[in-house]
Symmetry: D2
Subunit: 317 residues, 4 copies
C-alpha cells in the first residue's frame, strides 16, 4: 500500500470544497521603500504601505495563494525600480502585472499610502519649514471581456490645518458690541474695530481629506490636492512659527472662521476650478474632520460626487 501523498499543485486547480468566489485575496500592510522619480525634481524616497489584492473564482481552491504572495512581492520589487512619475502610476503598474500573472483573476487592486514632506514658508518671517502630509493612491485593473485591461486609479491626501468656529465667534462678537455700547462707544467705531480685530472663538486641528478617482490616462497632481486642502481651512499650520508669524496666523484664522461644512464646500469649489482637465465622471470624495477643542468628539462633513455633479450644483448658484 502506498501513502496517498496529496500533490499540492494539483489540488489547487481543483474545485474548492466550498465553491464561493472571493472579491479580494491578497496581502495588507506591506511596507516598502519606494523611490518615485519625478519629471524635473529630485526623486522622492518614501516608506510606503501597500495593500494588494486579486479576485479568485469559485472554482479555484486558492491554495496557491502562497504562490500568489510570492508573485505579488516580486512584482512590487520590480515595479519600484520603474521610471514611474507618480505614485498612482506605480500602483497602476503593479495592478497590471498582477493580472498578467494571474490568468484566472479579472481584477487586481493596489493601494498605497505614505507620509510625504511638503515645504512651507511662514506668513511674516518667510521661514522655510517642513510639513508632513499623508498621501495615498489606488489602482484597479479590470480585465475586459475582450481580454484588454482597463485601469482606474485614485489619488488623495490628508492635510492638517486650523479651523476656527464661526458660531461661537458670532456670540463673542455680540458680547463685544454690547459691552462697547454700554461703554458709550459709538456704532461706527465699534464697526471699524470689529472689522480689524476679530473676536475669540474655539479653534482646533482640522483634517481635510480629498481623493480623486479617474481612468488611467488622466493625470492628477498630488501637490495640487495638498494645496487645495491646506487653503480651505481657516489657516495653514506651520511647524516653526516666530511670534509675529503666530500672531498673523491667529488673526487670519479668526478673520476666516469655518465650519466643517464650509471647508468641504470650499474644497469642492477649488477642485472644480483647479481640475478642469479631468473628465466629469471622475469621482471626488471630500472630507473634513475637526478635532473640536470644546468636545472630545470630532465634527465631520463629507461629500462624495462626480466632478460633473459638483459643477452642476455650483453653476446653479
Amino acid at each position: 500500500m502506498d501513502i496517498p501523498v496529496v500533490k499540492l499543485a494539483d489540488v489547487q486547480a481543483n474545485k474548492p470544497d466550498i465553491p464561493i468566489t472571493l472579491s479580494r485575496v491578497g496581502v495588507t500592510n506591506v511596507k516598502k521603500l519606494v523611490e518615485v522619480s519625478r519629471a524635473d525634481k529630485r526623486p522622492i524616497i518614501l516608506i510606503s504601505n501597500f495593500d494588494i489584492f486579486v479576485d479568485l473564482p469559485s472554482d479555484r481552491k486558492g491554495a496557491n495563494l502562497s504562490r500568489n504572495f510570492e508573485a505579488i512581492d516580486e512584482v512590487l520589487e520590480e515595479s519600484i525600480n520603474l521610471p514611474v512619475c507618480e505614485i498612482e502610476e506605480l500602483c497602476g503598474e503593479v495592478a497590471k502585472r498582477l493580472l498578467d500573472r494571474h490568468e484566472y483573476a479579472t481584477k487586481a487592486e493596489v493601494r498605497m499610502k505614505s507620509e510625504y514632506i511638503v515645504k512651507r514658508i511662514t506668513p511674516v518671517n518667510k521661514v522655510k519649514c517642513q510639513q508632513v502630509v499623508d498621501i495615498f493612491a489606488e489602482a484597479i485593473a479590470n480585465r475586459q471581456e475582450n481580454g484588454k485591461v482597463f485601469v482606474n486609479k485614485m489619488v488623495g491626501a490628508e492635510v492638517l490645518g486650523l479651523t476656527a468656529c464661526p458660531c461661537a465667534q458670532e456670540i463673542m462678537r455680540d458680547k463685544a458690541i454690547a459691552e462697547l455700547k454700554r461703554l458709550n462707544v459709538d456704532s461706527k467705531t465699534i464697526y471699524e474695530f470689529l472689522n480689524t480685530v476679530p473676536m475669540a472663538t474655539h479653534n482646533q486641528r482640522g483634517r481635510g481629506i480629498v481623493t480623486i478617482q479617474v481612468s488611467h490616462h488622466h493625470k492628477v497632481s498630488i501637490d495640487k490636492i495638498v494645496h487645495i486642502i491646506e487653503t480651505s481651512m481657516s489657516s495653514s499650520i506651520y511647524e516653526l512659527l516666530k511670534r509675529n508669524d503666530e500672531a498673523m496666523l491667529v488673526e487670519n484664522a479668526h478673520k476666516n472662521p469655518k465650519f466643517v461644512e464650509d471647508c468641504v464646500r470650499t474644497m469642492a469649489k477649488k477642485i472644480v476650478n483647479d481640475f478642469s482637465d479631468i473628465p466629469d465622471e471622475s469621482i471626488i470624495t471630500i472630507k473634513q474632520i475637526n478635532e473640536e477643542s470644546i468636545h472630545s468628539h470630532n465634527a465631520f462633513a463629507e461629500r462624495i460626487a462626480t466632478l460633473g455633479e459638483l459643477k452642476t450644483e455650483l453653476s446653479m448658484n
Copy 2:
C-alpha cells in the same frame, strides 16, 4: 448708524456661498455608556463609540450644525434609556429621531462600535473564561418621497482566532513521510501516524470579520455572528489555557489548517446555513485577516455579496 449685527439664526436658512450638497454632516468618535436590555438576560453595559450623520441640502448654509450637534447628543442620551433589545435597534432609533428633528435631511446614519465580552469554556478542563470581541452596528434612515422613513441596518463583529497554514504543513508532512520511509517504516504505519499526529506549520492570530445588512424589520443575532467567525478558523483561542487545553488546541488547529480563503468560504457557508430567516437581498461582507507569523505583513481575503448570491454559488457545487 447702526452696526449690522448679523443674526445667525437667519443666516442659516439662507443659501450658502457655495451651494454644494453634503452627503454627511455630523460627529464622530462620540463615546457613551450604553445599557442594552436583553430579552431574558442581564442587561449589557458597553462603552460605545458613535458616528452620527445627516445629509445637508445645497440651499442650507448649515451653520446650524451646532444646533445639530446639540440635537444629536440629546437624542443619544434619550435613546440609551429605551427598552431596545439589540444595538442595531438602538442605532435605528437614533437615526429615526434625527430625521424627525431635521426636516431638511433625507438621510440619517448612525454607526456604533464597542468591545463586548463573550464567555468561553476551554476544550479539556472546561474552565470558563472571558473573551473580548469587537461588535458594531449601523442604521441608515431614509426619508421616502411620501414622507415615510425606511431604515436599513447592519450588524457585525470582529473575532480573533488561530489559523494554521495548510501549505507549509503539507511540505512538513512530505518531509516526515520521506524521513519515516528512509527509516524503513512501512507505508500503512506512516499513514496511520500522520492521521493521528498533525505535522508542524506556521500559525498565527487570525481576525475574522462579518457584517450583515438587512432592512429594519429583520433580526440578526450578534452572538450567532460571533460564533460563526470563531468556528471558521483553525481553532478558537482562550485567555486561560491549562496545559492539556493548550495541547488539545494546538492539535485540533493543526488537524484543521486554513488559508484566509478557506476561512472566508467557511464563514460564507455557515451564514447561508444559519441565517435562513433573512431575505436573499441582505448584503453580507466577510473578511479574514491573518497576522502571518512568517511575515510582517498580513494575509487577507474578502467576499462582499448578497445572501442570494452566496446561496446560488453554494448550490452550484
Copy 3:
C-alpha cells in the same frame, strides 16, 4: 534502547542555559470585565486592560512560564469577584496572590487601565452629560527579606480639556488696544472693555495626566485626581453644549489662558492642597500635552517629584 523523553516539569527547576535574571516575565494586554464595588454607590463595570509580571531568578529555566500564565489568569478571575473598593486595591490583591503562588519571585507587578465615565453638568443650561476619561492603577508587591510582602500602588488618570494660549492672546490684545486708540477710544474704556471681553487666541485639546504612587495602606481617590486635572486647564469640555453653554465655555477659557507649564503647576498646587492625607514621600507625576492647533506637533510639560518636594517649592514662594 529507550527514548530519552525529557520531562518538562523537571527541566523547569533546572538552571537555564543562559543564567540571566529577568526583571519582568508575564502577560500584557489582557482584557477583563471588571466589576468594582464602591462604598455607597452602584458598582462600576469596566472593560480593563491588564499587564501582569513577576521577576524570575537566573537559576530557573522559566519554562514554567506557561503554568505561570495559568495562575495569573486564575488569580485575576478570582480577584475580580472580591469586594474591593478601588481599582488599585484590585491590582494590589492580584499582586499579592501572585507572590503567594510563585515562591521564587521577589516582586509582582500588576498594571490596569480602563475607560471610565464621569458625569458633568454644563455651565449655563445645567445639562447632564457623560465624559469618558482614562484611569489606570498599578500595584507592586515586594517580598522582603523576612518573608513579609510590602505593596506599593499607583493611581492615575488622563483627562481631556481645553487650553487657550496666553502668548498669542497677548499680541491680539495689544492689537486691539492699538486699534481702539487709533479710533480715539479712551484708555479707561479700553481697559474696561478688555477686562470684560477676552481677545482671541489659538486654543486646542489639552490632555492632563496625573499619577500618584503611595504605599498600600493609603487611599487615593481617582475622582479627586480627575477633578484636579479637569479644573487645571483653561476650561472643562463637555460632550453636549447648547449655544449659551458654548459661549460661556469659550469666554471662560479665554479669560483663563494657560501654557502647558501653567497647567502642570496648577495641578501641582492642587495636589498639595487636596492630598494632605498622603505621606510626603509619595511620588507624583504630572503631565500636560497640548495638541497645538497651530502646529501638527504637541506642546508638553512634566513634573516628577515627591509630594514633599512640591510642598517645599510652594512654601518658598
Copy 4:
C-alpha cells in the same frame, strides 16, 4: 490714565505664580525628514519623529516657552544638515545646542524614532527583500556645576521575528512518541525521526526590543542591535518567501523553539559578546513581546541591567 499693557518679555523673567520646577518642557511628535550621512555608505533618508525637552526652574514663569519652541525647531533644522554619522549623534547635537540657547536649563533631552529599512536574503533561494524595523535614539545633555556639558545617549531597535512555543511542542512530541510506539515503531527509529522532523506547536509574531545607553564618546551600532534581536528568536521573518524558503523557515523555527524568557536571555548573551567595547556601566534594556496565537493577550519578558551585571551573571554559569 494709561492702560497697563503687560510686556510679555518682562513677565517671563519674573517668578511664576506657582513656583514649581518643571522636569520637562518641550514639544512631542515633531516629524522631520532626516538625512543621516554614513561613513562609507549612501546617506539614509528617514521621516523621523522627535520629542524635545528642557527643564525649567521654579523661578521662571516659562511664558517664553513659545520662544523656546522657535529655538527647538531652528536647532533641529540646522542639525539635520550636519555631517553626523549616526542618529544618536544627531540627537546629541540637538541636545547640546538646546543647552547653549537656554542658559537657565540644566538638562536637555532629545528623543527620535523612525522606521528603517534593512536588507535580508531568504535562507534557500537567496532572494533579496526589504524588512522594516523601528529604530530609536535619545540624548540627554546635562550641564555640570562647572558649566561643562555632559551627554548621555541611548540607541535602540524593535524587530519582528517568529517564536515557536517549546511547551506545546513538548506535548505534541510526547503524543508522537506514544503513537509511534503504539504502531510498534522501535525507539531508535522514533528517536532519529524526531531529531530530524520537529513536531508542531503554536508559533507567532514576536517583537524583540533592545536599547543600550552609553556616555556620548562611545559608539553603538544600530545594525548590530537589529541583528542581535533578529537572531534571538526562533526564526527571522521575510517579506518574500518562495515555497522552499517557507518550508526551511518553518522547520528551523520548530527546531529552535523559544519562550519570551529564552529570547531575552539569548539577546543578553549576544549583547555581552558583541558589545565588548562599551563600558560596564552601560544600561541595557531587553524586551520580548510574543503576540500569542493561542490567546488574544501577549507574553512578555524584560531585563534591565548594566552590561557589567549581565557579564557577572553569565560568568557565574
